[in-house]
């Protein structure tokens, strides 16, 4: 059996090339590297930070940029114009027309204690920009995580000074504004170079086990409104009508008053006129009126009985009740 050496140099012999080809390839590679390490495109929303031997050299504007090749200079792009966003307590799963969110697993971020020692789940976003690329890159390591930490700490500090009702309903805008200010303060203190545009509170809820109780409060509030509205409608059903009725009664009384007075005036005037004539010939007038009345009355009355002093016996003769007034 022939002993085979572990390696045989002959196996590794490089394939032979034409020296000219080798030179061409080497120059080609060199040019490629030169191009790749010296030409950069900076997008419109970005700026480029150029470092020479690791030292900050200059900031370049968007467009085509040339730097000294072979890693003597390097360029870092920072999107200064782009609005960046951090989400707390939830994550956008898939953005689109109907964006999907997920909130599970992020309860740690959202659950916080309020000033009255209640708990609330606060979800919020913060929109920010990199205002100072130099600071953003060189003053803080991991500026994004730092920024998230700042947000969480400040939000809890602010919520810790508010009641649960302020956090859930009445104080939302005030909280967002205060947090914006305070986060900016801390960003400046840490020299992150970040400019906070705004903090927006998203879903703010009581913790799940407490939710039904909060809903009950809402229901009770509705119920209160309902009861009050019912009572008001009852009131409105009755009172305006009563006012109208009252007006009617008063107007009727006014009508009665007019009638009564006018009638009285009419009667009086009639009487006065007649009386004036009567005074001129009292006897005759009296008789005339008397006779006229008798004329009317006697015509009208169905049964007449004329008695004489001498003929007293006739009354029992006719039976009352068969005719005349006794019959209805």
């Amino acid at each position: 059996m022939q002993e085979r050496p572990p390696f045989d140099l002959r196996d590794f012999r490089p394939p032979s090339f034409n020296p000219k080809t080798v030179r061409l390839v080497a120059i080609g590679l060199l040019v490629l590297v030169l191009l790749f390490t010296s030409i950069y495109t900076v997008e419109p929303e970005e700026v480029g930070v150029v470092l020479r031997f690791g030292k900050y050299s200059r900031t370049v504007d968007p467009g085509l940029n040339f730097i000294i090749p072979f890693w003597i200079e390097s360029l870092i792009k920072v999107p200064v114009e782009r609005q960046l966003k951090e989400e707390f307590g939830f994550r956008t799963e898939q953005a689109g027309v109907r964006t999907r969110y997920t909130t599970r697993e992020y309860q740690d971020e959202s659950l916080m204690l309020t000033g009255d020692l209640n708990a609330a789940e606060v979800e919020w976003i913060v929109q920010y920009r990199v205002a100072d690329p130099y600071k953003y890159l060189f003053k803080v390591r991991n500026a994004r995580q730092t920024f998230r930490d700042i947000n969480e700490a400040i939000m809890r500090q602010i919520v810790g000074d508010r009641s649960v009702d302020e956090v859930l309903t009445i104080g939302r805008i005030e909280i967002a504004n205060t947090v914006t200010l305070k986060v900016q303060e801390l960003c400046d203190q840490y020299e992150t170079g970040i400019k906070v545009d705004q903090v927006v509170l998203q879903d703010v809820n009581p913790p799940d086990p407490v939710k039904p109780a909060f809903n009950e409060v809402n229901e009770a509030q509705q119920e209160k409104e309902k009861l009050i509205n019912q009572a008001k409608s009852e009131y409105n059903k009755v009172i305006p009508k009563a006012r109208g009725d009252a007006q009617r009664i008063i107007e009727e009384a006014n009508g009665y008053a007019f009638k009564r007075v006018n009638e009285a005036k009419g009667d009086a005037s009639k009487f006065n006129s007649v009386f004036a004539e009567y005074l001129k010939a009292p006897e005759v007038t009296r008789q005339r009126i008397y006779l006229e009345t008798m004329n009317d009355v006697l015509q009208k009355v169905g049964r007449k009985l004329i008695t004489d002093e001498e003929a007293t016996g006739i009354l029992p003769l006719f039976q009352l009740g068969t005719e005349g007034g006794a019959q209805k």
Binding site: V164, E166, Y190, P206, V217, L227, A246, A264, T293
Partner: protein, 317 residues
């Protein structure tokens, strides 16, 4: 001969290159460097970025970050002074202020993180344990607002006044820790309580309390609604009576006045003299005869009366 010269030049260039590469070093914008000679630090730390030179081979480069560095505390279960157990999660930002000291004491960042864990967690625990929970949660004595819900349903905890507050407590932690970390060449920029939560068992109790509180508020709303409704219904009854009686009063007043006026008018007309009174009586009686006697009535008349006296005698007497 020519070949030999070429080889010598080539070797010399190679050596120079190696020396150059081992003596030049780059300090980036984010770094500071300590040069050590056989492990012993030499000179001041290099903090200006760019290319620098050192002695080749015998000196070594130790670079440290000079940015603000992160430290994230381990979430810790800590009892407060009022014996409530809470989870406290802190973060801090620090930087290597004295690289030389840092290098001597801690060697590298990993060592620093573990020392920071000891110091900061410890100081946090101390500070939390020395204060009530409210002090840790609240920062100011700002008046809490409760919307439509009235004061009486509130728990007393909302009204407790704090003495120190979160800001002051974190300042205490920072002050105490700063002293200790400065001996390690570290500057503590800030430390904050990132998250504070109740531990599981306490949380359950808090939820129960919140539920009870909400139920009280709900009850209050309901009884307010009932009360207000009852008041409106009461108003209704009152207004109704008022309106009706007012109308009655006015109507009667108007009628009474009219009656009085009519009476006065009649009196003026009829009461002029004896003969007017007499005439009135007569004329009214006649009218009454006309109005009251109908065809169903019997009229019994005596020949003695005025009307039929002519039936007896033509003269009527």
């Amino acid at each position: 001969m020519k070949n030999l010269k070429l080889i010598i030049i080539g070797v010399a260039a190679f050596i120079v290159l190696i020396i150059l590469f081992s003596s030049a070093y780059i300090v980036s914008e984010t770094e500071q460097v300590i040069i050590t000679q056989f492990g012993k630090p030499v000179g001041d730390p290099v903090v200006t970025p760019g290319m620098h030179f050192k002695l080749p081979f015998i000196q070594a480069v130790n670079s440290f970050d000079k940015r603000f560095l992160e430290w994230d505390g381990d979430p810790n279960q800590v009892p407060t002074k009022d014996k409530r157990f809470i989870w406290v999660d802190t973060y801090a930002r620090w930087r290597i202020q004295d690289a030389l000291l840092f290098f001597q004491r801690l060697r590298d960042e990993r060592g620093a993180q573990s020392r920071l864990d000891d110091i900061l967690d410890g100081e946090t625990r101390n500070a939390i344990a020395n204060h009530d929970l409210v002090e840790v949660i609240r920062s100011t004595n700002r008046e809490l607002q409760f919307g439509e819900i009235a004061e009486e349903v509130l728990d007393t905890e909302a009204k407790i006044k704090i003495q120190h507050g979160r800001d002051k407590i974190t300042r205490i932690i920072i002050e105490n820790a700063s002293q200790r970390v400065s001996e390690l060449g570290i500057e503590l920029l800030d430390l904050r309580l990132k998250r504070i939560n109740y531990v599981e068992e306490v949380q359950q109790k808090i939820y129960e309390r919140m539920i009870a509180e909400r139920q009280r508020i709900a009850d209050k709303f309901r009884s307010e609604g009932q009360g207000e409704a009852a008041k409106i219904l009461g108003d209704k009854a009152r207004d109704l009576n008022q309106i009706e009686s007012e109308a009655y009063r006015q109507a009667e007043q108007i009628k009474g006045k009219a009656d009085a006026e009519a009476t006065a008018i009649y009196a003026r007309a009829y009461n002029q003299s004896n003969s007017s009174r007499d005439f009135y009586q007569f004329i009214k009686t006649m009218e009454t005869y006309q109005n009251t006697l109908t065809e169903k009535d019997w009229l019994v008349l005596s020949t003695k009366g005025d009307f039929f006296k002519f039936l007896q005698k033509q003269s009527g007497r």
